[in-house]
Amino acid sequence: MSTAKAFAATRSEGRAALVGYLPAGFPTVEGSIDAMTAMVEAGCDIIEIGLPYSDPVMDGPTIQTAVHQALEGGVRTTDVLHSVEAVAATGVPTLVMTSWNPVERYGVERFAAELSAAGGAGLITPDVTPDSVPQWIAAADEHDLDKVFLVAPSSTDERLAMTTAACRGFVYATAVMGVTGARATTSDLAPPLVARAKATTDLPIGVGLGISNGDQAAEVAAYADAVIVGSAFVRALLDAGTDREAGLAALRVLTEDLARGVRRG
């Protein structure tokens, strides 16, 4: 199911969408499915499932820790697709966020076909650009999947236009120049980037990197179509340690705070 449906709903409510991320297999495959289900129940409009990769250059220490735990636990690409199926069954559009090599290794066409069969909405590909992965663009078009590429404050106008033209579903604007991780203050680079992106496309623009609470979510929701949160969710689970119930409770509290935030924006 494309994210278009979720954005149609949030637009009709006059608010931004809340997009939540967790890596598959963290703390376990079933544990991550439970966690993401809790995030859906508490108010996430779209879910991004991270495909754990050994060399995640766009991730800060929090997500690196979670991904490392997931890989140590033996998570496989097929587990990610299984997780997509389980989370998408809640009715919320579910994307996979992944570094490129695991997709290429699985087979781009095969990955797209199985993602589609699992009910997945599409892929977010943070470490590649549209001009480097034509085979994914072809496979996504073939299987009716969302293609979410990133734009950055450093993107030239020409590259912004090229990138948003290649996107389907939404455009992911990175609020800061840097890797994932919660930050104390929101970025002043994000609003002008969103404005530049909007000038090139009618697609919704999501903003991520560094958002960790409802106030920050409200601030971003004032100018973006989606608020994307990752590290803060991972942090909530990491802090709960082996206490699963406490972890799920913390996720619900955080999700509700963020969900109120996107409705204030």
């Binding site: 990769y53 050994s54 060399d55 995640p56 250059v57 766009m58 991730d59 800060g60 220490p61 690196q64 490392h68 890989l71 496989r76 690409t77 490129w100 090599n101 695991p102 997709v103 290429e104 290794r105 699985y106 943070p126 470490d127 590649v128 650009t129 480097s132 992965v133 590429f149 990133l150 734009v151 950055a152 404050p153 450093s154 993107s155 030239t156 590259r159 990138t163 990175t174 800061v176 120049m177 840097g178 890797v179």
Partner: protein, 410 residues
Amino acid sequence: MSQGTIEGTYGDFGGRFMPEALIAELDTLTAVWHEAMADPEFTGEFDRMLREYAGVPSLLYDAARLSEVAGARILLKREDLNHTGAHKIRNVLGQALLAKRMGKTRMIAETGAGQHGVATATAAAYLGLECVVYMGELDTRRQALNVARMRLLGAEVRAVASGSRTLKDAINEAIRDWVASVEHTAYCFGTAAGPHPFPAMVRDFCRGIGDEAREQCLELIGTLPDVVTACVGGGSNAIGLFTAFLDDRDVRIVGFEAGGEGIDTPRHAATITAGDIGVLHGARTFVLQDDDGQTIESHSISAGLDYPGVGPEHAHLAKSGRADYLPITDAEAMDALALLARTEGIICAIESAHAVAGALKLAKESPGSTILVNLSGRGDKDMETTTAWFGLGDPAAPVVEPVETPEGPQ
């Protein structure tokens, strides 16, 4: 300048698989590099620094006693004699000069053995740039001497404790730094790998190795060598040597990869011999990876070859058949290191000992041939590893006799 139809690709390999945040900078870097290489002022300054500061051109040395043992004529390109003790100084002086041209005030680098880190710290000190070096935590322990050298040179060394705590993780961390600091920071990449323009740019800054060696060889023996060889981790010293000989179809080109404990074990770094095509650190190349595309941790006794990827031009030279790539085990490299020490009085880096070991094997196959070896670095930094390997540290303990000591000079 680059091979292939699209700039930055080498047959099926290379390219630029990088986050959008860095693409504008890579485009600018490519443009500034092309412009600089066409500017006589830049190339003149680069040549002057190499000559007056780095001690280049390095000697081509006719290793008579080693040749006698080997049964072939072995010529050593003495990059170990360069300032900072390895070929790496060529690359960093080029990149540091470019950084200045781009108005950068800070340089970051990754390092495995520490040679590239020391070279970068040196160039930063020489040209007045701030310097931060990322080094796998495991490597900081294997190469403590180089850590001390970098710090003395004024660089900050950041030990990387993520992943396998080696070179690939240091690269990941340096990329993370760069995404956040690109406005004022240059990434001085240490090998001929990574996204375009690094493979081509590093090659061009290092190609003096081969250009000099080719000329020196013609002068010394009146003809080209039968074979040119070098060790290959990421592959900067190798591509620096090979480039000058690519069009000499009669010259065989052989790169030696780190076979670790053997390519039939999981502990090696023989990427071309035993890896599969994938994308790592911005380029499509051969990668040690599992069925899911997760990078497999490599192993080599030599930190500088302990890398699960390889430069894309090497991948192309291997696939096209122009060059051969063969594995050398830890044990073979250490034997060659000792043999070189005892026949020639030269203690080379363990990285370079892989090329020496390979040359000894080639000599057995083709007795009487002429083999040019890139002796890419010196071995001081490795003495702790070497001491432990041969049991040299304890005066009371019997020393493992590494090789048959050859006869004295004639």
